[in-house]
Symmetry: C2
Subunit: 197 residues, 2 copies
């Protein structure tokens, strides 16, 4: 479970694994790639405009070689102050974080950062649609877990309560993301279900 590059929850698909289904995860596509593909498709069909925000990087040293473009020679990854994805869909402001896990029975809340929950709370207060996309890699299942639930679980966790969401609980309160042909991860259908509830 150690990732030498310091990234967690972006496991490569090198280890062959028995899969219950094989809908989303064909050809080792990562959750981020599937979301980006979905966003490109939504954008191309005028269905929504949702983008992943670039990773914030602190640039320290830049070289300007003659006749070529600037080369960044020293820089550091910074922690994002918001969630990874936002945009607009049918007039709604959409804001979410996507997390992938290899676990099969629960999702650990330590994968979420307090500033992300605070950011989503602020967006929720302004009338935005906020959620977590949780992808269980081994089960090849993806769930739209609403912010209203995350808020309860997070506050409870911060006050010494459970540090993880059980799969059962997630299945009870989430909107399942169905796999499709195009896009493979059609998460806006789950958003529709949440909006129409």
């Amino acid at each position: 479970m150690r990732y030498p590059n310091g990234h967690s929850y972006q496991p490569t698909s090198k280890r062959p694994k028995k899969r219950v289904q094989d809908n989303f995860a064909k050809r080792g596509m990562r959750l981020e790639d599937m979301i980006n593909a979905a966003n490109n498709w939504y954008n191309s069909k005028d269905l929504a405009v949702i983008h992943k925000k670039p990773t914030p990087i602190q640039v320290v040293k830049v070289d300007y070689p003659k006749r070529s473009r600037a080369v960044i020679k020293e820089a550091y990854y910074r922690q994002a102050s918001t969630t990874d994805y936002n945009g607009i869909y049918k007039g709604y402001y959409i804001d979410f974080e996507a997390k992938q896990t290899n676990l099969v029975k629960h999702f650990p809340l330590r994968n979420i950062h307090d500033h992300q929950v605070k950011h989503m709370a602020a967006c929720d207060k302004q009338g935005g649609i906020c959620f977590l996309l949780i992808y269980f890699k081994s089960l090849d299942s993806c769930y739209l877990y609403p912010f209203s639930e995350l808020k309860i679980a997070w506050d409870n966790y911060q006050n010494g309560g459970k540090s993880q969401l059980s799969l059962e609980h997630i299945q009870q309160v989430s909107y399942p993301v169905q796999s499709g042909f195009r896009p493979r991860l059609d998460y806006l259908k789950a958003v529709d279900q949440m909006l129409n509830r």
Copy 2:
């Protein structure tokens, strides 16, 4: 007018200049800093959640020194595919680009990129509030120029029409951003005027 680092429209305030007013530009604050300060203030007062997106950077080489964090050793600036700022205000999706100029009589449309106009057009179609913040540094004046107007001027420009917006035209169709104490650049007041029109 040449900037050796390849950045345009972020002039430093080294050259002493006669100013008509001195409302916004005190102590050489750049437009970006003023917008960030406004966004921090809006966020802290629960008025809006609007952030500048990080500059997209293509990382090529990363070092992982022992016992310290990753150091990016080679990377390049990429062109952003969207505008710089987005977020939510009173339930509205907000999306804008901010531009500063030293000119006093017009704003050149070459400061805007086609993909930014396309991005705003897509957001506009979904019901988002899109605009340009144009800051005339020498005049110390800032205008909220609505996307509906930008679209007309841009299409005209792409078809061989005028390559710049005259200050007179900007003043006629924009919502002026008044300078305030906190935040100094209270651009959401101009958004309110546009929404209430």
